[in-house]
C-alpha cells in the first residue's frame, strides 16, 4: 500500500464469489465444490480459482462431463451430510440437469416431510452482454423460479456476490445462484475483509434466513419505480440517472432474490411512486418480469397512475453477438418506457 490513508481496496465480482466459497470451505469441512473444469483450471470464468490448490482434490474437483450427474450426485452428497456447491459451466448447459433439479433437488424436502433437506448451491453463470454465442447467453431464471422448492438468488453488486453466496451456502434449502456473467469482471470499492465482518456480525439465524429474501432500494426517487434484478440493475441505474436530467426522479429496486420474493418491498416502492417499469434481460413472455408486473397490479392497483410497463428481451432465442445490443434492455428503451407513463403535463 503506497497510500497513507485507509482507502477501500477494489474487489471484482469474481473474487468476491471466489472468496465466499473459500471462506465457507474454511469454516465448514462439509462444503465441497465440483463441476466441469473447476479444479486445476479454476473454472472457465476462474470463479473457483485456487480452491483445489488450497483445499485439495477431495474438496474441489473436476467431474466427468455430465450435468445430470453433477446435480444428481450433489443430491446424494447433500442427503449424506455434505453442503455441495456445483457449477454449471453456462446457463444453457444446465439443461441436462433439469430432471434432477426439478424432480429431486426441488422436491426432496417436501417428499420426505422435511426429514431430508438438501443444502446445496447450483451456481449458474447467466445472461448476455459478453459477446457470447448460442447456448452461452440464456437468462433461464424463470424455469427455476417457477419450480416450488428451489430458492433463486441473483446478486447485482460485488458486496452481494460475497454476502448472498455465503447466505446461499448456509441455507438449508437448495439455492440456484445466478451469476450475471457480464458482471464477473466489474469492480467496486469493497473490502473483502469488511464484507467478511458484515457476514460474521449477522446473527446465525439472520445469516441463514435474513438478508437473502430482501430486495434493496439502490437509488431513491419519487416519481417512478424501476424494478430489476441481476445484470439489469446496472442498466436501470443508468436509466435513472439519465431520467434525472429530464426531471424525472426514479427509484430503483434490486429484487436480489426471486425466491423468496420480497413483495413488501415491491409494494412499498410502487405505492410511493405510483408508476412502475420492470426491467429484465430474459424474454418477457411468461417471465419473472411478468410475475412482478402481475403482483404490482394485484397489490398496488389503486396507487397506480399509469399501466405497469416491462422492458425485457424480445421473445426470441438469444441473438448473435453482433445483434445482442438490439435485444438487451438498454437505457434508451427504459427511457422510452418512462415517457409512456401518462405524465400529467
Amino acid at each position: 500500500m503506497s497510500t497513507t490513508t485507509a482507502t477501500k481496496t477494489t474487489t471484482t465480482f469474481a473474487s468476491a464469489l471466489n472468496t465466499a466459497m473459500s471462506d465457507a470451505m474454511e469454516a465448514d469441512n462439509s462444503v465441497v465444490v465440483f463441476g466441469e473444469d473447476v479444479g486445476t483450471l479454476g473454472g472457465v470464468f476462474r470463479i473457483t480459482d485456487g480452491l483445489t490448490k488450497r483445499f485439495g482434490t477431495s474438496r474441489c474437483f473436476d467431474t466427468p462431463l455430465a450435468e445430470s450427474g453433477i446435480a444428481g450426485t450433489a443430491v446424494g452428497m447433500a442427503i449424506n451430510g455434505m453442503r455441495p456447491i456445483i457449477e454449471m459451466q453456462f446457463d444453457a448447459f444446465a439443461y441436462p440437469a433439469l430432471e434432477q433439479i426439478f424432480s429431486h433437488v426441488a422436491k426432496m424436502a417436501n417428499r420426505t416431510r422435511g426429514r431430508v433437506r438438501l443444502p446445496m448451491v447450483i451456481r449458474i453463470p447467466y445472461g448476455g452482454g459478453v459477446g457470447g454465442v448460442e447456448h452461452h447467453c440464456d437468462s433461464s431464471e424463470a424455469y427455476y423460479a417457477h419450480t416450488a422448492g428451489l430458492k433463486v438468488f441473483t446478486p447485482a453488486t460485488v458486496a452481494d456476490a460475497y454476502l448472498m453466496l455465503r447466505e446461499a451456502i448456509d441455507t438449508e434449502d437448495p439455492v440456484v445462484f445466478f451469476e450475471p456473467k457480464k458482471l464477473y469482471w466489474s469492480k467496486a470499492a469493497e473490502d473483502l475483509s469488511t464484507l467478511r465482518e458484515i457476514y460474521e456480525s449477522r446473527a446465525e439465524d439472520s445469516r441463514k434466513i435474513g438478508a437473502q429474501g430482501q430486495a434493496a432500494v439502490v437509488r431513491e426517487g419519487q416519481d417512478v419505480s424501476i424494478i430489476s434484478y441481476g445484470p439489469s440493475v446496472e442498466t436501470a441505474l443508468k436509466a435513472a440517472e439519465a431520467a434525472a436530467e429530464d426531471g424525472i426522479s426514479a427509484e430503483v429496486l434490486d429484487m436480489r432474490s426471486i425466491v423468496p420474493f420480497d413483495e413488501d418491498a415491491l409494494v412499498r416502492t410502487v405505492e410511493k411512486t405510483g408508476r412502475a417499469v420492470v426491467v429484465a434481460e430474459a424474454q418477457g413472455f411468461v417471465s419473472v418480469a411478468s410475475e412482478i408486473t402481475a403482483r404490482i397490479q394485484e397489490r398496488c392497483f389503486h396507487s397506480l397512475a399509469s399501466p405497469v410497463l416491462r422492458v425485457t428481451g424480445f421473445d426470441i432465442p438469444y441473438p448473435s453477438p453482433k445483434l445482442e445490443e438490439h435485444h438487451l434492455p438498454d437505457v434508451d428503451r427504459i427511457l422510452d418506457a418512462l415517457d409512456e407513463l401518462q405524465w400529467e403535463d
Binding site: 446435480a71 450426485t73 452428497m77 449424506n80 430432471e99 417428499r111 441455507t171 434466513i209
Partner: protein
C-alpha cells in the same frame, strides 16, 4: 497378454484407477478383461427343482467365485421371501378393492428384492425404485409407512435417514446418481459405507444410468448397481432397449466388473450380492450385477399385459418360482422343517393383516401440511396461501382440516 501394461500418459485413462482392476484381476490370476466381463453363463446354484447344482456347473470360475451363505442367513432370506410374496399379493388385492391407488408388484422377483436388503450392513444405504417395496420392507422399514405413497399420499411415508433407504424413486435411474453421491460423501469422510442402487432393465437406457456408472467408476466409490432384468419395461421387451450381449456386459465399458445371476435363485442372488458388497467395500469400487428374473403380474394395475406377452411365457416362468425353489432346497438340507415353516407363514399373515387394516382405515390427514415442508422457512406467499386454504377449510366445515 499376461502382463497388462497401464497407460500413464496424459490424455489417457488414469493409470491409478485402472490399477485397482489390475490388482484385483492379478490376485485371481486372470486378465482385467476376464475380471470385468461377466462369467460365460449366469451364476446359478439351485436348479428349478431346488436341487443344489454341482459347484463346477454353477457358472463360477476364477475371479467369479461365490461362496454359499450360511444356513441362518438362508433361513432369514426365506422368511423375508415368504413375507415378500404375501405383501405383494395383499397389496395386489388392496388395489383391486380400491384401497391403494397403484401397486407395482414384484411378484416373481422376490429373491432379488430380499437379496438387495439382506446383503447390506446397518450403516449401508439402499436406493430403491417404485417396484422395490419388498426390498424396503426387508430392510426393516415399517410396511405401513412404505405403503403410504401408493395409497396416494403426497409424501414417501418413511424417514430415509432412519433406515438409510432413499425414497422410492419413480423418475427412472435418477436414484442411481443419489447413490453415487451418498457413497462419495461417505468416502470423503473415510467411512466404509456401501450403497446398493436398484433399477430395471428398461431403465438402463436412461442417461442417468450411464452417468451414474461412469461417475462411480471415475470416483472409485463403493456402489453396487443392481439391475433386475424382468424382461420388460411396461410393454417393451429388452431386445428393443439394448443390443448389448447382456446388461452385465455394460460394466466393462465403465471400467468395472459385471456379473449375471439367475434372479429367481435366492441362494445365487444372495451369494453374488454379498460378494459384490464385500468387494465394493474392500476395494472402494463399484460393481454391476444383473439379475435375470420375470415380472409375473402386469406392470401395475393400470396395465394390460395380454397386449404384449403370451400366457404361455408367463406359465414357463412359474416353474422357476423363487419361493418354491428355496423352500425345497432348505427342506432337503434340513434347514427348514414344518414347524418353522408354519411360524414363517404365520408371521407373513400378520404383516398382511396389519396392511389390510391400515389401508382400509381412512387416514387422518392435515391438508395444510402440503405447505409446511416446501422450504425450511416458508415464503411469505406460502404463508398467505396456507392461510387461504385454512380459511376455506373452516368455511366448508371441519372435515379433515387443522383443529
Amino acid at each position: 497378454m499376461d502382463e497388462p501394461v497401464t497407460t500413464a500418459e496424459p490424455g489417457h485413462a488414469k493409470a491409478e484407477q485402472a490399477s485397482r482392476i489390475f490388482e484385483a484381476s492379478r490376485s485371481f490370476g486372470i486378465t482385467p478383461e476376464q475380471y470385468m466381463l461377466p462369467a460365460q453363463q449366469q451364476i446359478q446354484m439351485l436348479d428349478p427343482e431346488g436341487t443344489l447344482i454341482p459347484s463346477d456347473q454353477q457358472g463360477t470360475g476364477p475371479g467369479h467365485e461365490y461362496p454359499i451363505p450360511e444356513p441362518e442367513v438362508l433361513l432369514k432370506a426365506y422368511t423375508a421371501l415368504v413375507a415378500g410374496r404375501r405383501i405383494n399379493d395383499q397389496n395386489y388385492a388392496l388395489v383391486r378393492q380400491g384401497r391403494l391407488a397403484v401397486y407395482p408388484s414384484s411378484h416373481g422377483q422376490e429373491a432379488c428384492q430380499v437379496g438387495a436388503a439382506l446383503c447390506l450392513d446397518a450403516g449401508d444405504w439402499l436406493f430403491p425404485t417404485y417396484r422395490d417395496t419388498v426390498s424396503v420392507i426387508s430392510r426393516g422399514v415399517d410396511p405401513l409407512e412404505v405403503m403410504v405413497s401408493f395409497r396416494g399420499d403426497w409424501h414417501c411415508g418413511y424417514n430415509p435417514k432412519e433406515h438409510r433407504v432413499g425414497s422410492m424413486s419413480t423418475p427412472l435411474t435418477t436414484q442411481l446418481l443419489h447413490a453415487v453421491g451418498v457413497a462419495h460423501a461417505a468416502k470423503l469422510r473415510g467411512e466404509d459405507t456401501v450403497v446398493l442402487a436398484m433399477c430395471g432393465d428398461g431403465a438402463t437406457s436412461e442417461g442417468d444410468f450411464h452417468e451414474a456408472l461412469n461417475f462411480a467408476a471415475v470416483f472409485e466409490v463403493p456402489v453396487v448397481f443392481f439391475v433386475q432384468n424382468n424382461g420388460y419395461a411396461i410393454s417393451v421387451p429388452l431386445s428393443s432397449q439394448s443390443a448389448a450381449p447382456s446388461l452385465a456386459h455394460k460394466a466393462i465399458g465403465y471400467g468395472m466388473a459385471g456379473e449375471r445371476v439367475d434372479g429367481n435363485d435366492m441362494v445365487a442372488v444372495l451369494a453374488t450380492l454379498r460378494r459384490a458388497v464385500h468387494l465394493a467395500r474392500e476395494n472402494s469400487m463399484p460393481l454391476l450385477l444383473e439379475a435375470v428374473t420375470y415380472r409375473m403380474q402386469a406392470h401395475t394395475n393400470a396395465d394390460d399385459e395380454t397386449r404384449y406377452r403370451d400366457r404361455e411365457e408367463v406359465e414357463q416362468w412359474k416353474r422357476k418360482d423363487p419361493l418354491l425353489r428355496m423352500q425345497r432346497y432348505l427342506t432337503s438340507e434340513g434347514i427348514l422343517d414344518d414347524a418353522v415353516a408354519a411360524e414363517i407363514t404365520e408371521a407373513a399373515e400378520q404383516v398382511a393383516s396389519s396392511l389390510r387394516q391400515a389401508m382400509t382405515a381412512e387416514p387422518a390427514e392435515n391438508p395444510l401440511e402440503i405447505f409446511d415442508h416446501v422450504y425450511a422457512e416458508p415464503t411469505a406467499q406460502l404463508v398467505a396461501q396456507r392461510a387461504q386454504l385454512s380459511d376455506e377449510l373452516q368455511r366448508t366445515g371441519p372435515t379433515q382440516g387443522e383443529k
